[in-house]
Structures are given as C-alpha cells and as structure tokens.
Symmetry: C2
Subunit: 380 residues, 2 copies
C-alpha cells in the first residue's frame, strides 16, 4: 500500500484498463541497475523485450546503458530505426530473409550488431547474408547454463568448433560467450538464485579461460536475467549484463525475494464492472494481464495478479481467474462497487506491455502522459 | 494430420511465426454456424472478439449473420467504422467517456446499437449519454446462468426492476434477455455441455415468459458460447445466438468434444530454432500463443498447444512450456532440426489472434494473403 495524493488522483482519472508506469519508481529502478553495472565493472545492455519502448530505452541509455538487447530480429529493427547504434539480438536466427532485413536496418543506422548462435546452420545463414551485405556482424556463442532452452552445452570442443566456424567466415567475428540463467525463476528464494548466478559465472568464466588458453580471444562474457543480476554476489570475469524485467519488476520478483512491492513500477488500473455474491469483475482480463503466472511457464504464484481496491488499498485480493476481457476478484461477501477503481500488480510485467498500444506514465506530481509501445507485437 | 500439397507448400513458404487460417476450413465453419442458426430459426450475431477482423465479419455477414457482437466499446467502434450497422456490445459499460465515443461512432454509421447492463449504474451512465447524443440505444439485461461473471440472478423482481428503470429513461429501450454460458468450458464432455445449454434455455425462456406475463415485451432472448451453441438440442424460445470461437475452433473445443481436428481453421506455423537432448525450441512463445490453457482460465488441457512437425505430421507432441518468444516441444531423444517447420494447434484461438498484426490466409490452391487484425488490442 502506498499513500500518495497526486498518484491516487491520477489513478482515479485514467481511462481503464491502463498500464500505469510510476515514473519515480521507474527512475529508481533504472538507476539501481546502472549502479549495479558500474560497481561490478560490467557493461549494461538491458533487454528491451520488457518495455518495447524507445523512450524507455533512451532513459536507460542516458543512465549509462552501453546498448540494448532485443528478443527478435523485428524488435531489433525498431530500435535500430529508432536511433540505437549498439544492438544485440538474443535469439538464434536462421531465416535469411529476416537476417537480411536486420542487416539492412543496421547498415542504415550505422550500428554495431551482435547476434547469438548455437548451431552451424545459424552461423552459415548469418555468414551468407553478412557477405551479401558486406556488413560486419559479431556473433556470440550461446551457452545453456541450465534453462534447457537455447545454447550449447558448456563444453570446450563444441564451443571451440563453433568459434572456429565463425572465424572462417568473412564479415563475421566472435563476440564472446552468452547465457541466460532463466532457470533462476524456478528457485525458491534468494539464496538459491545467488547460487544459480554463481554457478553461471563459474561456468562462463571457466569456459572463457579455457578458450583463451586454447588461443582464442573472448571479447565478452555476457549474462542476463533479472533475478541473477540483482542477487549475484560476484561479477568477476563477466563483462556484460542484460536484465530485462528489472526496469519494472512484478509480483514474480517479489515472490522470489528479488524485489519489494515498493520497487514495482508497473501496475494495471482497472474498473469494477460487475459484482456478484462471490466475485467482483474488473475490465482487465487475459487480453490485458496475459495468462502468465510467471516467466518461462513458472507457476510460483497462484492466480493472475494482486488487486488493491483504491477505496481500501490495504484490502489486497488475488485475481483468481481471467476471461479475455474480465478479471475475477474473489471478494467473498464483501463485493466491490461497479465503477470503483482497483490497482492490479501483475505476476509478470513483460507480456502485459505487449498487449497495449501505449504506456500511461504518471510523474511524481501526478501528471499523466502516454508513451507508445513501439515494438509491440514484433513476432519475427 | 492432413496431407494436402498446396497447403504443405504454403506452410513451407510462410515467414514464421505466423497465424495461418485455412480458408476451406474457415468457410465450412462459417456455413455450419449459419446452418445451425437457420435451422433453429434464430438470428446469428457472431462474437468478433475471436477474429477482430472486418474481412472475416464480412464473410459471416455474407453467410447470413444479422450483425456482430463485440467484447468492448473500442472493439465495437472498429466494426462501426468498418461499416457494420448492427452492433451489440457484450460488456457492462459504466464509463461515460467510452459510451459517448461509442454513440458517436454508432450515429456516424447510422447503426443500431445494443448494449448489455446488469446494474442501475450502467443504465444511468448509458441513459445520460444517450440523452446527450439524442441517439436510441437498446439495452439487454444480462442474466448470470452459471458462469458467475457478469449478469444478475435469473429472478423476476430484480430483472423487472432493471427493465422498469430502462423504460423510464428517454432514448433507451429494453432489447431483451442476454446470457453467456461460459461455464460450459468447465464440462467434461458433450453430454454435460448439452445439459448446460438446455438449462440456460429453460432459465432464459422461463424468465422471458414471466416478464411477458407481467406485461413486459421481451423482443429478444440472446445466448452465446461456442460449446452450447454447437451442442444444444433445442433452441425453442431463443431468438439469437452469439458464438465466437466456432469460426476457428481450437484444441479446447476438440478436448470438449465440440469440434474435430479437421474443423480447426487456425494454426500457428513456427520454425525450430534450437534443439537439445530433451526439448526442441520453436520461435513461437507466449507472445504468439498466449499462455492460455483454455478459456475462462479452464485448464482442461495440459501444455500450450499441440505441435505437428511438417516432416512427420503424425508425430504429434505437446508444447510443454513457453518463454515469451520460445516454445518448448518435448522431443525426448529424437530432436527436431533447426530450420524445420512445425504446425501448432493452439489450446485457445482467441488470444492468439490478438497478438498479431495480421492473419495469414491460405486458399485451397495454396495462395497466401494477409488480412489485418483490425481490432487488435482494443482494451477499452
């Protein structure tokens, strides 16, 4: 519960459903991340899949971010066209049409482009287009440090073989090693997350050392994930971090012990539209909050967010079910009143942003402004 | 598994991830629904929240639909501006700004507008704007027939009292009774769904009879939901149906016994981007498939859709987890190959459409065309 008159007035005013960004909290989150990077002596290239906003990436750049990381080629194109000249795409690209479009946008922006690969097929597809475009691309080799998603096993021969293939291809260079410890979202608390971060660091720096020992230069050792970045105790040997969610935080991060409620910058403002004997219904459903119960399919939280009626913010209640345009708050025999406002703290902020055209930003004095979600729905 | 050379060639060609609509299946689905309405002697006003497409609503109109039903005011505005002159908004509206914009769009289109209410507050908000706009609005009273979402209990005094309030307000008229038996999605099979439909019919027609007995004219008795419409045995006394999902169908409808696999018109085409010892990863995650395991938070299906590798379509495998841009297929020790195509049958088609700018439509001869999702992201 936060009591803040300009904020409460703004919440009463906004048209619902709205994705509200509290600027004061956002600013602190951006500064905190920059502080972590500075103190650790690593570069910060935040993952923009969380906000998909040129304005917000600009704030991160002003606070010291060296560049941005994008989820897909199409998302990267939006940031290249939006004036970002240091762009990493954290996705194994294979489709030459997509790579060609990405390279054209990078050339137009005069940008430094870094991609990730985990298969010879991906190296060859990028090599072919880089040669056609005569444009340089730096390739990270992605290492699977435990999520079991993309990346190859952290074993020297396989990694060295991909690095070797990269070295043989004109216009390609080896950027370094790349990982995402998304399995940290399956941890049961801060201590386990710190351990995941340390294991990742040791795997990645050990592999970098082995490559260097074999005579291969490793320019960067890049790791990601909000939980591990926030709770890591040691960054020695790493050169770069790529957290995404940390700019907003959400109830998953609170449940994991990564953030406090006061550190969540993103909420959804909804209106009660109906009420019955057991549930009150709000105008935010799965097409606003998404059905995510947590990242990577984690189900650490039951329900679909926590609702805070503005008339009585200390009365917190979970959203227990969602239809597409309706959220169900279990109110028992104390129904809310149609027309009243609730503030909802989503489980997972990232997919929420992708569902709206614009973010509603509230400044500390209660002024509201709208910021486009520039890279919304960039699926390719 | 369907073997069809033009279709397979089209699937190989399309850029992924793509929401593919098979035109031949779509046409059959549209005709089947129109046939049900004609045979039952009821009007068909399909729910457009499923497709959000002017083109597709146009096909439904050509096949005999009397009008369209929209999920929210903003969605209705898109269809009013797109030339639809018989529009129902299946949502209790309370915000006068939204109502004013909706009325302005209805006036511009010269449209007949029907809204639903379940509280005096909603009646009064609509009455105030209708009077300001001097534009007629017909109001349904929504009845809760078991979903426990919106609507009032099916009891004569409460319903008559709302009808009476409507009758007292200039520019408002009573459209009739309105229900959505979404709890049919919680049924364990066709027999139980038929029973939900019959219970709904008896409740609704009984209430209409009681109102008429009290001297109140009841122009329409309108029911919705794909499962109940497809499996109802009797429509006597009903005047209108509003199914949405039936235009596409999905794995939830198959699991419920409402549709067969051959009746699903919507699939997602994805590419394998990485593979490890246990899972193959495709380029469609929760930002493409949504995290819905079923409508209204139903979890009849485990996983997030069924994947059919195009190289071996009989090898069906569930998507067991989703990251935002990655789908995890459990391939055991037979990994798929990066670059190969998979066709994914989503659990719930409606939220998938809302995540893309356009649908990729494939005609029976394999020609591809793109159709915009006109009302995508209409949250207000």
């Amino acid at each position: 519960m936060r009591i803040d008159t300009p904020l409460r007035d703004a919440i009463a005013l906004v048209e619902t459903p709205a994705v509200l960004i509290e600027e004061a909290v956002l600013t602190r989150n951006i500064q905190r991340l920059s502080g972590i990077a500075t103190q650790a002596g690593v570069a910060l290239r935040p993952h923009v899949k969380t906000h998909k906003s040129l304005w917000l990436a600009g704030l991160q750049r002003q606070a010291g971010a060296a560049g941005v990381t994008a989820a897909k080629a199409s998302e990267a194109v939006v940031f290249l066209e939006g004036g970002f000249r240091d762009v990493t795409v954290a996705y194994p690209l294979l489709d030459r049409r997509k790579i060609a479009r990405l390279l054209a946008a990078a050339r137009q922006a005069g940008a430094s482009l870094r991609l990730v690969v985990d298969s010879p097929a991906s190296v060859e597809a990028i090599a072919a287009e880089a040669a056609l475009a005569t444009y340089p691309v730096a390739l990270f080799v992605e290492i699977d440090v435990g999520l079991g998603r993309c990346g190859i096993a952290p074993e020297l021969p396989a990694v060295a073989s991909l690095v070797d293939l990269i070295a043989q291809r004109p216009f390609l260079s080896f950027a370094g090693l790349f990982s995402h410890a998304g399995h940290a979202y399956r941890c049961d608390g801060p201590a386990a997350i710190t351990e995941v971060a340390e294991t990742e660091r040791q795997l990645m720096t050990g592999l970098a050392k082995a490559l260097r020992h074999a005579g291969i230069a490793v320019p960067a050792v890049s790791v990601g994930s909000t939980p591990t970045v926030m709770l890591a105790r040691d960054f020695t040997g790493l050169t770069e971090i790529r957290p995404g969610n940390a700019v907003f935080m959400d109830m998953t991060q609170v449940a994991l012990g990564v953030a406090t409620r006061a550190e969540i910058a993103l909420s959804v403002i909804a209106t009660v539209v109906s009420a019955n004997a057991t549930h009150s219904i709000v105008d935010a459903g799965s097409k606003m909050l998404s059905s995510d119960q947590g990242p990577h399919g984690s189900k650490a939280l039951s329900g679909y967010g926590l609702a805070e009626p503005q008339a009585d913010p200390s009365r917190e209640m979970p959203l227990v079910a969602l239809s597409e345009e309706h959220g169900f708050i279990a109110t028992g025999n104390r129904p809310l009143t149609p027309g009243e406002r609730v503030r909802i703290w989503p489980n997972h902020a990232c997919p929420v942003v992708n569902l709206v055209e614009a973010l509603t930003v509230v400044s500390p004095d209660g002024a509201l402004c709208s910021r486009p979600v520039d890279a919304r729905g960039c699926v390719w």
